[in-house]
């Protein structure tokens, strides 16, 4: 990517981006990166990791739940180097062609498998593994991951102490619930403890600006200092309360674990002397507010996705967090789309229950999902730093819980963009492991974890984030990274 001349950057301090409402809005250059002189130091932060997890698989070669073969409509035609021209040529027939503008930034990875077979509900089993590579508990819709997720690990290593990853959700179901109607958890705080999502974009926005500010430098540092002092005084009273409880010898291990987690979570407020100069456009904040606290309305789902993507980019640009996750959909994605005049529920189409048009409708949704991903890449490209666009200073990932609508756990798509400061390759379509779907029915069957389990992908991403890892996930899985992806 061409780097801008520092003088030009001084002149072009604002890049114009399009907000959710179509308004043309300006974003400032990242003040925290503004050099005092044209030859000022390069600011280097830990690479960020942003992950979008979609549901219901994609339309790729394989078989349906009914055993019918399906043609390839997702992956690029040819392996190896990706160019805009080649991806544009693929675009009429392959969903990944929607990302042609970013061909040279992409690392499209085929062949990643989930290592553990489903106990019943393959969607739940997939959710439990996709970011954990952990074994899963017995149970169907209520299976849980027996390990932490990658966002938890990266946040622990790279975020300010005590700052959770930003984990967002655009779907139909609120936290909690039983049986079928659950959001489908991909982020885990501890083994078997899913992390609750932030559903409402406005809640996430408030959480972020509560830490980094909202573009206005604090004028009253005295107020900030007093607030921090109050926080400390209160916490100085709270900590001994928990410590006294922990001294008891008659608590259960579960009681102790929960108290320890609570104790570790108590943090004093830090005085905010500066504010990020980056802002979310007022119009978008207004839209967030109108969605209310329970944004499960199908009518606003797509807008919620875009706002969450705005927030993910904002959160890493403003250094609120080094890692964020967005789950689109729930345990399944049952969002109702209208495409070519046909109204349908996505999950129904993914199971091909809507007749011959099912596969075309799913393919159309694949393109919609990748355009959401492209929107995120646009946002990250819009944030400029002295060393180039923010996009390349981390990795933005799109993946799916399943490989296909038939719940295959083999060839789960992973698309990466951004080299994480040169750690990852770029502009490549790579196949890891065998890259072939196993024959016959694969519904919820574990894939080839010996060669290309998702644990290796997670190790690779963690390493890219600056958290060296070769054994993330279940300890029985083969260690290592996907060296094919590393520059």
């Amino acid at each position: 990517m061409k780097k801008q001349d520092p003088v030009a950057r001084e002149i072009n301090r604002r890049l114009v981006l399009r907000g959710v409402g179509g308004l043309m809005l300006g974003l400032p250059l990242l003040e925290s990166f503004m050099p005092r002189r044209a030859s000022a130091q390069t600011a280097v932060r830990s690479p960020f990791v942003l992950i979008i997890v979609s549901d219901n698989g994609v339309v790729q070669s394989g078989v349906t739940l009914g055993g019918q073969p399906e043609a390839e409509r997702f992956w690029p035609t040819t392996g190896g180097a990706l160019t805009k021209a080649s991806m544009l040529a693929d675009k009429p027939t392959r969903a990944t062609g929607e990302l042609a503008d970013y061909a040279e930034n992409l690392l499209i990875v085929k062949g990643v498998n989930l290592p553990y077979s489903s106990n019943g509900c393959s969607h739940s089993a997939a959710d439990a593994q996709i970011l954990t590579a952990a074994s899963i508990t017995p149970g169907s819709t209520n299976c849980l991951a027996e390990g932490i997720s990658i966002d938890t690990a990266i946040a622990k290593a790279k975020n300010p102490a005590g700052r959770d990853p930003l984990v967002l959700h655009a779907g139909m179901f609120a936290p909690g619930g039983t049986g079928f109607d659950i959001p489908g958890y991909v982020s885990y705080v501890t083994p078997k403890q899913p992390r609750v999502y932030i559903d409402a974009p406005y809640k996430a926005y408030q959480q972020i600006i509560g830490v980094v500010g909202n573009g206005t430098a604090p004028t009253d540092t005295t107020a900030q200092t007093l607030r921090a002092a109050r926080s400390k005084s209160i916490n100085d009273l709270l900590r001994p309360q928990i410590q006294d409880l922990l001294k008891r010898t008659d608590l259960s291990q579960n009681d102790v674990d929960r108290l320890n987690q609570h104790f570790a979570a108590i943090r004093d407020i830090e005085v905010k002397m500066t504010s990020t100069s980056i802002t979310i456009p007022d119009a978008d904040v207004a839209t967030m507010k109108t969605m209310g606290a329970k944004p499960y309305d199908q009518a606003t789902r797509e807008a919620a996705v875009r706002l969450h993507l705005d927030l993910m980019a904002f959160a890493v640009a403003a250094d609120y967090t080094r890692v964020a996750v967005l789950k689109i959909g729930d345990r399944i994605d049952d969002h109702e789309y209208t495409i070519n005049g046909q109204k349908f529920k996505f999950h129904d189409a993914s199971h091909r229950t809507l007749g011959p048009s099912s596969v075309d409708l799913c393919h159309a949704v694949d393109r919609l999902m990748l355009n959401h991903y492209k929107y995120l890449l646009d946002k990250l490209s819009g944030y400029m730093t002295p060393t180039g666009a923010l996009l390349d200073q981390g990795v933005a990932i799109w993946c799916n819980q399943c490989a296909t609508g038939a719940h295959s756990f083999s060839n789960v798509p992973w698309i990466l963009a951004g080299t994480a400061n040169g750690y990852l390759k770029r502009g490549q379509f790579v196949t890891v492991g065998s890259g072939q779907m196993p024959g016959g029915s694969q519904d919820g069957k574990a894939g080839d974890a010996a060669n290309s389990g998702v644990n290796k992908m997670l190790n690779t991403v963690m390493s890219a984030a600056g958290v060296a890892s070769d054994n993330f996930g279940n300890a029985s899985l083969p260690k290592g990274v996907f060296s094919e992806l590393i520059a």
């Binding site: 139909m172 109607d181 005084s233 608590l251 519904d443």
Partner: protein
């Protein structure tokens, strides 16, 4: 996470390993997350008495055949229970409202996330204070303190009458009184001193603010973030050599209140605790009855049933309004409200679980009236008696009938799966990988025929679908995709008759009304409901030690010998509820 009770032996024909055919994978509805059904002895209703841990009631039997129901419940088996139970999300909201005596906390409430739970919302082992939640609670406590201290009247409500006028004396009185309500027990002298120390920092940390307000704000924030507020605790010391430890009066008051009303103890409970009355089983029972008969008690009942019957998902019901002109934007909420009003009515009338599935009573407003074929002039819900040959309780209400639908036809499979898993606590085996999509609807093909051709005899779904849940869904083919009664489907007469193995025996039925009545008489249904209720009231998954108690009350429920109200009463006055292991 505790493992649920083991599958009933009456389901052995499933455990025999019959290859499960296709579970039609729409919605991936392959298994229950609920506890599975315990087996139960046959019930022989007869005259007997029910004794809980404290109160007692006598019930006249209604006759029957089989084993006689014991006159008293089995001894409570104490199991290891959490000593610290974090308030559930809803308990926190309700308690904040009641503790601070604020009518509207919605804006602050929205800033606090729910919990990533699978199961009832009050299961202590799964309720944590994470980094994110801790920060949200800290922010909320700050805002709540601001709201209270900005309003002199609001702050004055939290200061006891007769408090000294001087700031120091008033502070002590405030800390002592508010602290008792916040921690749900009297503060120790050390705790009072500590909080006074914090109070006295008010002048420094809120310069220029009224000394009492500034100190009170700090104390409010600290108490709302305290583990003694956020957790319901059972910490009374065990006597040396004790095999069981009675909860103390304040612990009983808190546990009763949260279980029955989903909020903190009220003043009467605090008074009873202060007077040492709550280690007397008779007094506990009296308080429990009072709570059950209160508005807050109904709220607690609703919270339980909202979760059992997944009423929260009704908001997501959508329909093609051209195909269903009687379905309006107001319909989903009305469907939910209808269920809650019916359950409230049954509860208040002293009804039982049976009534859920047998009563033709409904609560209808003008939004729902067209669906039921009645007239209603306003948005107010009015009690009506529907045609008992067409309507019989919850399963013939529009909400259940609409809530799983895909498209314009009733969802036989998911209606059936709901009944099997939610009402009968059946654990369904995993779906077959050969699961197929529904075949296309052909001319002159009914909805049932379509489903049977896809999953019935001769298909890979035959064993699972045909035996485990499709029949339960077939029974309701007289109700269309929004619950309107019909006798014709795609030009052909509706066939709602089928057979289902209930309590180990094949049971025939002609339609949904007959099935509803059969379910109401079944051991499985009553055991499942009892199990769910005990899980919820105890705030923990049940263990095998709880089995005899489940069996006993399920028998009474099935015999019509215990009302919903008395079922709750029995649980919360039991030894298992009022004591803990050392």
């Amino acid at each position: 996470m505790k493992r649920p009770l083991n599958p009933s032996s009456s389901m052995s024909w499933v455990a025999a390993g019959l290859a499960c055919g296709a579970l039609l994978a729409i919605g991936c509805t392959s298994a229950s997350d609920n506890n599975t059904m315990p087996g139960g002895a046959a019930a022989n209703p007869g005259t007997g008495s029910v004794t809980g841990g404290g109160g007692s009631a006598s019930y006249a039997g209604s006759g029957g055949s089989g084993t006689a129901i014991p006159g008293s419940p089995p001894p409570s088996a104490l199991v290891a229970t959490p000593r610290l139970a974090r308030l559930s999300r809803q308990q926190w909201s309700n308690t904040i409202r009641d503790l601070l005596q604020l009518t509207d906390i919605s804006e602050i409430d929205q800033g606090v996330s729910g919990d990533a739970l699978i199961g009832f919302d009050d299961q202590a082992d799964a309720l944590y204070v994470t980094e994110q939640l801790r920060q949200q609670l800290a922010d909320a406590s700050e805002k709540l303190a601001d709201v209270v201290t900005a309003d002199s009247a609001a702050l004055a409500r939290l200061v006891p009458a007769g408090a000294p006028a001087d700031t120091a004396g008033k502070a002590r009185a405030f800390i002592t009184s508010f602290g008792l309500r916040a921690f749900r027990r009297p503060l120790t002298e050390a705790e009072i001193t500590t909080h006074l120390g914090l109070f006295n920092q008010g002048g420094t940390l809120y310069p220029g603010v009224d000394p009492f307000k500034s100190g009170a704000s700090l104390v409010l924030q600290a108490m709302l973030q305290s583990p003694h507020f956020l957790y319901r605790t059972e910490l009374v010391a065990a006597a040396p050599g004790a095999t069981k430890v009675p909860l103390n009066d304040y612990e009983v008051s808190a546990k009763l209140a949260f279980a029955l009303t989903n909020t903190m103890p009220d003043e009467e409970l605090f008074t009873a605790a202060a007077a040492g009355q709550l280690h007397d089983p008779a007094q506990v029972a009296a308080q429990a009855r009072r709570l059950l008969d209160s508005t807050e008690g109904l709220s607690g009942v609703n919270n339980f049933n909202m979760q059992v019957y997944r009423l929260g998902t009704y908001d997501g019901i959508t329909r093609d309004t051209q195909a269903f002109p009687d379905f309006t934007p107001a319909t989903p909420q009305a469907m939910r409200e209808e269920v809650l009003q019916l359950i409230d009515w049954i509860f208040s009338q002293g009804g039982s679980v049976k009534d859920f599935y047998t009563t033709p009573v409904a609560f209808v407003n003008k939004t729902l009236a067209p669906i039921y074929g009645v007239t209603a002039a306003s948005d107010t819900f009015t009690k009506v008696e529907l045609d008992p040959t067409q309507r019989s309780g919850l399963l013939t209400q529009a909400g259940f009938l609409s809530s799983y639908n895909k498209g314009d036809d009733p969802d036989i499979i998911h209606r059936g799966v709901f009944i099997a898993t939610r009402l009968l606590c059946v654990t369904l085996p995993p779906p077959s990988p050969k699961a197929t999509a529904l075949i296309d609807l052909q001319p002159n093909m009914t909805n049932r025929e379509r489903v049977e051709m896809t999953t019935g005899k001769g298909t890979c779904g035959e064993t699972c679908h045909s035996n485990l849940f499709n029949p339960l869904g077939n029974a309701f083919e007289n109700y269309d995709a929004i619950g309107k009664y019909r006798t014709v489907d795609h030009g052909k007469p509706v066939n709602a008759a089928d057979v289902y193995r209930l309590d180990g025996e094949l049971k025939s039925f002609s339609n949904g009304v007959e099935l509803s009545h059969a379910l109401a008489e079944s051991k499985q249904l009553h055991a499942c409901y009892t199990q769910n209720m005990m899980t919820y009231l105890h705030g923990r998954l049940l263990s095998s030690e709880d089995q005899p108690t489940v069996d006993y009350y399920a028998q009474l429920s099935r015999a019509g010998m215990i009302s919903l109200r008395d079922l709750e009463l029995a649980v919360v006055t039991s030894d298992a509820f009022l004591n803990r292991l050392p």
